[in-house]
Every structure is written in C-alpha cells, then in structure tokens.
C-alpha cells in the first residue's frame, strides 16, 4: 500500500515576511538642520561640494563593477521644523545639482519616529538588548527602562544618588574596553507631559536600520518611497515619509550604508553605533538579507555595525 501524504495548513500559523528591493550601497549625502538652511545657499554649496568628492569614492570602494548605489538626504522636520518644503527643497535640489550631486531619495526625520501609521522608533526600542555586564545570568530583570543606553556599566555613585553618596565611588566601565574605558551613555528619549521625544541619535539609528532594510511591521515592509511631481507643499507633514526624486534610482534600501557627514555629527553617530550594537534585529529578516547577499556573491558583515560606514569631514 502506498502511504498517502496529507498536508494541512493554517495561514495564521505561518510566517509572513516581505522582502524589500535592495541596492548594494545607500549613500547618505547629508542631514539638513535649520541652521544649515539659515546659513544660506553658499555655505550649503560649500558643504555639498565636499560631499560630492567623497561620494564618488564611496560608490567605488569594496563594491562590484556594476554596483547598485542609491543616494539619500535626510531633513530635520522633527526637532525644529523650519521654513516650508516649498522654500527649502527647491533651494536644496538646486545647490545639490550645482555641486554635481544627484539626490535619489529625500526623507523626513519625523518619519523615523512614525511613518505611514507605523511607530518605527517604538519597534526599534522594543528590540534593544542591552550589553550584559559580566555576571549577568538572567536572575535579575534587565536595567529599568529609563531612556538611556550605555556601552558599559555606569558608576554606582551616579545611579544611587544623594542618599548613597557615602559609598565608595567607582568609575564607569566600558564593556569590552581595551585597558581603559571610553564610556558612552546615550539618551534615547525623554518623556515630558506624557509625550515622548526621541533623541537625534535614536532617530538616526532608526534611519540606519531603515536604509539597511531591516525593519518590518508584523512581517510587512515599512519602506515605501513615493514619487513626487509638481510643487512642494507648505507643510512637511504633507510630504510622504520618503520621496523618490529620481525615477530611475536604484532601491532605497541596501546591504550597506555609507554616510558623508560634517565632523560635528561624530558624537551623534558614535551614539548611533552604541544603539545599533544593542539592537537584536529579527533573525528571519537577518537571514533573508544574508541569503540574498550570498546569492549575489556580495559579502556583508553579520554584525549590523559592520554594514554601516562613514566619512566625517571638516571645513
């Protein structure tokens, strides 16, 4: 007798995991704040002129011959919403073009907190897995969620406050330090009057994860760049989270990211790396991307921070 092979499926018990189009490299050409806009087109032109020189190199190094490279630009409309898209964007695009840069995608920083009804920053915060000090065996709950994340152990004096001042002070310690510590403590958010304000490094970490194609909402893709035709509106919120300016651009998400930033962003990006190195990404998404990279013969680091590159320039 031949055995009969029966199959039974329940779709709610299956994993849904959308995959996203991927370029090899996503190059961030800049991050525009109010002060940059206020400094005028000339200063912005000087900055983007430097970016253009590095951008050429970034699009060649460690990439295959016909690499898919896309460029993006982030505008702060979260902390200090300034001017209007109608005022800022034509100027930005003109200056970029004069500097020899082509911006494929334009993203709003507020969209790193909340995009198309999905609380992206919350999704990332829920995936934080703090670096464990030696002796962490699971018996204690992870440190209370206070909106701060460090790369080590805080000084006990700093945690216990006034009443405990008499206990011996001990320095904070960086975990994995080489001989001496470089202790970094990052404020990820602050809550005032029931409203959460995400910090710039936290949103920048979300921005990196978005570009790396690692975020999903119940398995669904959360990155949907939309084209924009015609005049720009008077309110930032009327723009989609990510606008595709170049119709023939390579995909927004990429196996690796590269950011070309003025040196004043060094602090923020160091904080971004502290956060990224403590994000436990969804293993299924990690596997999906690793598998696609290996099928293309493109090597990527298994560690997230190994996929994130920078140039910081002065002047």
């Amino acid at each position: 007798m031949i055995p009969i092979d029966a199959t039974f499926r329940e779709t709610t018990a299956e994993t849904r995991l959308e995959s996203v189009p991927l370029a090899h490299l996503s190059v961030e050409l800049g991050h525009l704040y109010m002060e940059d806009f206020a400094a005028g087109p000339k200063a912005l032109g000087a900055q983007l002129g430097r970016v253009a020189q590095w951008a050429g190199a970034a699009a060649r190094i460690d990439l295959p011959d016909k690499a898919r490279v896309s460029t993006c630009f982030l505008i702060d409309d979260y902390f200090t919403p300034f001017a209007t898209p109608a005022e800022v964007l034509p100027m930005l695009l003109r200056v970029a073009e004069d500097s020899g840069l082509r911006i494929d995608y334009l993203a709003r920083e507020a969209a790193c907190a909340y995009a198309d009804g999905v609380p992206l920053a919350d999704l990332v915060a829920a995936r934080l897995t703090a670096v464990p000090p030696v002796g962490t065996n699971g018996s204690r709950p992870p440190p209370m969620d206070i909106g701060w994340l460090s790369n080590g152990e805080r000084s006990p004096g700093a945690v216990q406050g006034e009443a405990m001042r008499r206990t011996a002070w001990a320095p904070p310690v960086e975990i994995d330090a080489r001989n001496h510590s470089v202790f970094v403590d990052v404020e990820m958010w602050s809550d005032t009057k029931g409203k959460r304000l995400w910090s710039c490094p936290f949103l920048a970490a979300v921005w990196q994860l978005l570009r790396l194609g690692l975020l999903r909402d119940v398995g669904a893709n959360v990155v949907r760049p939309r084209p924009w035709a015609g005049d720009f509106p008077d309110r930032w919120a009327d723009l989609p989270p990510i606008i595709q300016l170049n119709p023939t651009a390579k995909p927004f998400c990429a196996y690796r990211t590269f950011s070309l930033l003025p040196a004043r962003f060094l602090q923020v990006e160091n904080a971004v790396r502290v956060i990224l190195s403590q994000v436990a990404a969804n293993p299924a998404v990690l596997d999906q991307i690793a598998e696609r990279a290996s099928r293309e013969g493109f090597e990527i680091s298994p560690e997230l921070i190994g996929r994130v590159g920078y140039v910081f320039f002065t002047g």
């Binding site: 994993t15 897995t129 699971g138 560690e303």
Partner: protein
C-alpha cells in the same frame, strides 16, 4: 551542540478560557512582531522571541569552569486559551576564541550562548540536567518566571483563577548526536512540581526539541493538575452536587486540552511514543478521565433512581 531550556507551566489567570483575539494581545510581547496562532487541532499560540544578554558561568558535571556569553531566547505559549507557558532556551556552542567579543557579534546570533573555557558540551548537558548549580550560574528559570509574570498581569485578563493549581518547572537539555542509535529521552519527575527532560537527538532535529519539551511540559501539567483535582474531590464521599462541584474545573477547563503531539514536529514524534511507552502518560490520563466520567454517570443514575423509586435497602 546543545540546547538548554526551562519551561514554567501554569493556568492563565482568567475565570474562563481566553479567545484567540485576546491571546494575540497577551502574546504581543514585541510591537511589530507576529504572534503565531494555530486553531487546529487545538488552539495554540506562540509569542515572538524576546532576546536577553548573558555572561555567566555554565553548570558542568565535572566542575570544570565554563563561561557562557551570548543571548538567550524566551517566548510565551498559550494552549487552548487556558494554559500559559514561559519557555526560555539557550543554544550552547563552543566559542571560536578564548575571550568575549564585541556585543554586536553576539546579537548577530540571537539565542546562541558561546562557551568559553575548558568545559565540554556533554559536560554542560549533564551539569544542567542534574542541576549542579554554583552561584551565579545561568538562570533560565528566572527569565521564564518574569515572562509569565508579564503575561499574567496583562489588563486583558480578569485575574480570577477558577481553581487551585500549581506551577510546574521543567528543566530540559537536548544534546546533538548524529548517531541514530544514541537517540534517547529521559523524563524525570522530581518533587511535586519539578521535572527534567534529558534528550539526545540528531543535530538537524535540535530546534524541534523545543516544541517537544513544551508539549511534554504542557501535558505533564494537565495530567498533574487533573490528578490533584480528583484527589481533592475525594470521589468516594459526599453527595452528587458536591462531587460535581469538585470535578467541574477538570471538565470545564482541562479535559479538552489533552492532545499529545498536536503541535510537535514529525521528527520528534518517535520521542513522544517512546516516552508514552515508559511513562504511560496517556494511559494514566485515560484512566483518570474514565474515572471522572464513571463517577458522573453513576451519580446521574443514582439521582435518577432515587427520584423514581427509593433503592431497596439490603
């Protein structure tokens, strides 16, 4: 390679069984992550995996020092909208270098604890199962307790427990061995509430061992709980109404939960069958359920005849 695990099994703190939509809310431990829900043949739902970092000694039978660094994975399971489990695992692999690496390295392998030091994988397997704990050793049970606590305090529950039941602790370890003749499964009932399962399985089946141990822990809890209800019910005494009141929790909340192997991968079914042969889980369950039904039938008949005509005295 080796998987260590701890499972806590208890009754969901709600006066009645919880509907699948509410189960989805209870198990949504990570926003934006999917809860796996299955309705057949028995409602079964699994939360997304919560990952936590550890750097602590691993237990060894020989007493050799062994340090584990990496992440453990924890999820909650709700069966039949009634039974809650906190299940925590650590996949133990020998580290390639003799020191701790950067944290991002460990986060690229969620659920894996790398073993640094001279201890061997079988040594840790035995040490863990035999609970040879030294101070500050890996404590998966505490993580499991916290996970359960988090689900039990969810405002979607009414926090009323319809009957008394104990929380069971199942500690298990599965060692990989590709020699098929080495396959084994040892289930030990310790004190009232503690159990251990020691498994030897082919390496490819190692991940399936998690679901198997959860299923064994679930059925062990259901059987233990029904036995206690029958014990407390003191079936030989009291009137029909009393007996019915005492047995009602078993009938209302537990009898339909029995379905060994329903959500267990095929690769682990031979282990269930082997375990059944030795421990007689289902035989004991059927005997108990039959006893409950017989009692009820007898009470019904007695009541019927009592009403129709008094039973002649002998």
């Amino acid at each position: 390679m080796l998987i260590l695990g701890e499972i806590r099994t208890c009754l969901l703190r709600n006066s009645s069984g919880v509907r699948q939509t509410v189960v989805g809310e209870l198990l949504g431990l990570i926003p934006g992550e999917q809860v796996w829900m299955s309705e057949r043949p028995m409602a079964h739902a699994v939360s997304p995996e919560v990952v936590r970092g550890v750097d602590c000694p691993l237990p060894t039978r020989s007493g050799t020092r062994s340090r584990g660094v990496g992440t453990i994975a924890a999820h909650a399971v709700i069966s039949a909208g009634r039974v809650l489990q906190g299940s925590v695992t650590a996949r133990v692999e020998p580290a390639l270098v003799d020191r701790r690496l950067s944290w991002s390295h460990y986060l690229s392998r969620p659920g894996v604890v790398e073993m640094i030091g001279k201890g061997s994988v079988p040594d840790v397997w035995q040490g863990f199962v035999q609970q040879l704990s030294t101070a500050h050793v890996l404590d998966l049970g505490a993580v499991s307790e916290r996970l359960i606590g988090k689900v039990q305090t969810n405002p979607h529950l009414d926090h009323v427990t319809p009957f008394r039941s104990a929380r069971t602790k199942t500690r298990w370890a599965a060692l990989a061995n590709n020699d098929r003749s080495a396959r084994s499964c040892q289930f030990t009932v310790g004190s009232d509430t503690s159990r251990t399962i020691a498994l030897v399985v082919p390496e490819a089946d190692l991940p399936d061992a998690v679901r198997f141990c959860e299923d064994v822990a679930l059925h062990d809890w259901v059987l233990t709980t029904v036995l206690r209800i029958v014990e407390r019910g003191d079936l030989g005494s009291g009137g029909g109404r009393d007996i019915l009141a005492r047995l009602r929790p078993a009938i209302n909340h537990l009898m339909h939960v029995w379905m060994p192997g329903a959500h267990v991968p095929d690769s682990m079914m031979p282990f269930w069958r082997a375990l059944e042969r030795r421990s007689g889980f289902t035989r004991q369950w059927e005997a108990t359920v039959t006893r409950i039904r017989d009692q009820l039938a007898m009470r019904v008949l007695t009541a019927f005849y009592d009403e129709a005509s008094p039973v002649p005295q002998r």
